[in-house]
Amino acid sequence: MDRRDFLKTTAMAAATAAAYRLALDGDSAAAPGDGPPAIDGVRWDKAPCRFCGTGCHVQVGVRGGKVVAIAGDDKAEVNKGLLCVKGYHVGLALYGKDRLTRPLLRRNGKLEPISWDQAIEIVAERAFGNPAGFAIYGSGQWTIPEGYAANKLIKGGLASNQIDPNARLCMASAVTGFLSTYGVDEPAGCYDDLDRADVVLMWGNNPAEMHPILFSRIIDRRARGETVRLIDLTTRRTRTSGFCDRTLIFKPQSDLAIANGIAHLLVESGTYDRAFVDQFCNFRKRTDPPSLQGDASTFEEYRQALAEYTPEKVEDISGVPAADLRMLAELFGRRDLRITSLWCMGMNQHTRGTAINDLVHGIHLLSGHFGKPGDAPTSLTGQPSACGTVREVGTLAHALPGGLVVANPEHRKEAEEIWNLPAGRIKDKPGYHTVEMWKRFSTAAEQGGDIDTIWVQVTNPARTLPNASALFDPSRRLPGKFLIVSDVYPTATAMAADLVLPSAMWVEKNGVFGNSERRTQQWFRMVQPPGEARDDCWQLLAVARKLHDKGLPGMKDKDGKFLFRIVDDAGQEVPVWDWRRYYDVNVDQQLFDEYRRFTRFKHKDLAPYAEYVKARGMRWPVVEQADGTWRETRFRFARFDDPYATKADLQFYHSVTKDDRALIWFHPYEPPPEVPDAGYPMWLCTGRVLEHWHSGTMTMRVPQLQRAMPQAYVEMHRDDAAALGVADGEVVIVESRRGKVEVPVWIDGRGQPPRGSVFVPFFDETLPINQVTLDAFDPLSKQPDYKKCAVRVRRRPVGTP
């Protein structure tokens, strides 16, 4: 057998096994074969995919120090051995031709190579000189140990709380929605709901492109002959719409009115689940100013507040026909169906993001569609560890690990005990949220711009901040402002930086991610990073040690030991700040097992690191059993599965009202802060596409993905294009009050906006649509609204090349 035949045989074995799993509903016992294809000389190991928040596991094939093959992991519950188009190219994301391989310092306007010793000294000097003005801007792509180290460095070491992640821009409103409804963050359900739901209602999201493996899981059920009704609530037709039984196009922001309209019909028709509400829920109304706690309310007050949201009025606000609203309410009013709601950026990137999250949870609670497999309100995340590293590790400016917050003295005390810090080290005042952090960085010191240094890791704010020309660009012209960027490629942010630090990526380092369904996933380093690129976590620890050596008191615990004391099996400290020694021990394991101590406070218990080495992830709370094994939890708050729900069938044990009940909120519909007018007559929506991930810094370097979707565009309705006199493919100017971008028109393309709306994806660094978007944000989550602002579209002047 030659190599070609061998490859063919092993690939066929893998495909056949997957065909069995798909055809027989995941019954892997019936499937022949086991594991990835046996390719000569290839060593396989597991890792979660580097891209989205789904958390598919891949098998990574390595030969000769390079990743040469990718296979879906047939032992992974999330993806059952399958991959999406980004997933099967994930290995190639390591091998773009322009990887950063040396630290670079800007001198006389040019980035020039320097040594790592010099680079670490410069970062430390910035932090040492003004700890209060030194901020870290991180990411939902940080691994859990990386985010934990950054959080501890800022909150336990520099004692400033000036750290916030890019996940503020993608899921902060989901966090506040969970907190205000259940008193604790993250979904109660999991992906298993998708295997059981009779109805899947998508609130402004497009899983066919953004979470294709999850969507495929639903479509596979149909292929097996099951009935799954899909309903798409959306502001434009997308690839998802093509699979749906009904697509309901609504006007931007009017999802609030739709949710209230459904609740109104449930209440007035008496089809709400009174027994469920009586046993498990309280009612809440908002305060002024708004808060996550709100004020107590009654069912009668709730009913009265909803009274104006008649189907006809909601149709007037939203454009969704009254008959369709009645259809939605009838579905929720049925007890014989199981209903799962899915949402992502559409509800979160919203100036009333917390409110719409509350309202969707409220519909599920009001109708009793909660707590049974298939009955779940579930938010999805866009980044691979937005849940793990941001929400659970607490890298938000107000948070501490494990769901604790800096404003709570008891929480600070707990954190100081775990970190062995002197009492009072952690400050009670939250740091700046993302928009505020960058605003202050882009403001002169004498005008209140008190952030003078930002260290960016694993994200590209020059292209992803809203209204970037106001929030990012001015900092690059102001004296005294210093931007440090750790990244793997020369992104737009890196190229604007004063100091660039080359980073290791994905399987070039150890890591742990946490996905959208509370699943914590571990992997080991498999290949070496190129050149002098080094782990982000090492960079943080090296700077901390440099600060320690300079005498910054915060870098020592109350016993005078280094804040990040990593030891060997004999308990001797290992100088991991020396890169040559960094992999002498498993730094990830020690940081993770320290972090794990925080997770018990809010019943987000994690198992020891070693357990995750053996598993394809486990969903928290993970609790040790009498026999020493560790058991994950699929359905939180439900007595049949959650070990902490002991008093009733459902127990919301972190209830805001301290009575084990969830809250059903009323929030009114309110118009968005900017609406189309005579000068800017169209809505702009932004988002992602199937082939690319976020600002495209990785996927645009995979030739196959770049060729498949080479540049950004503006989707436009045929009639709007005709009225403007532009043809398909013609370059136009999309312009708001804040900025403009020139992009080609795509008519009847993949997405189809209604008249008066346009859509531009943000993956293309060369066509930065976030120069155009609005930086208005939700008052509670502080998450900006990228989904709606007013723009005009105009032809380019004659003679423009």
């Binding site: 495909a15 997957a18 055809a23 991959l83 495929s216």
Partner: protein
Amino acid sequence: MTVSALVLTLDPEPVSRTRVLERLRGDARLCLGDRVLDRLPVVAMTTSCAAGDALFGELGAIEGILKVDVVAVDFSEDV
């Protein structure tokens, strides 16, 4: 050469299925496995990863193929 392991979901309608299988059998780039209900395991051998991507798109566009899932890709000659 790139080797990809795929699973095709076929339209259950018999005439459509027969037509699709005939077409697939005539494609020299493909090696067909044994069908499991509506799922057909396939190995695709193409000259490059890009050609594999193009084939993925072609298969998805064939009437009677409802879905193309990717199981594994060996791109050792592309890196």
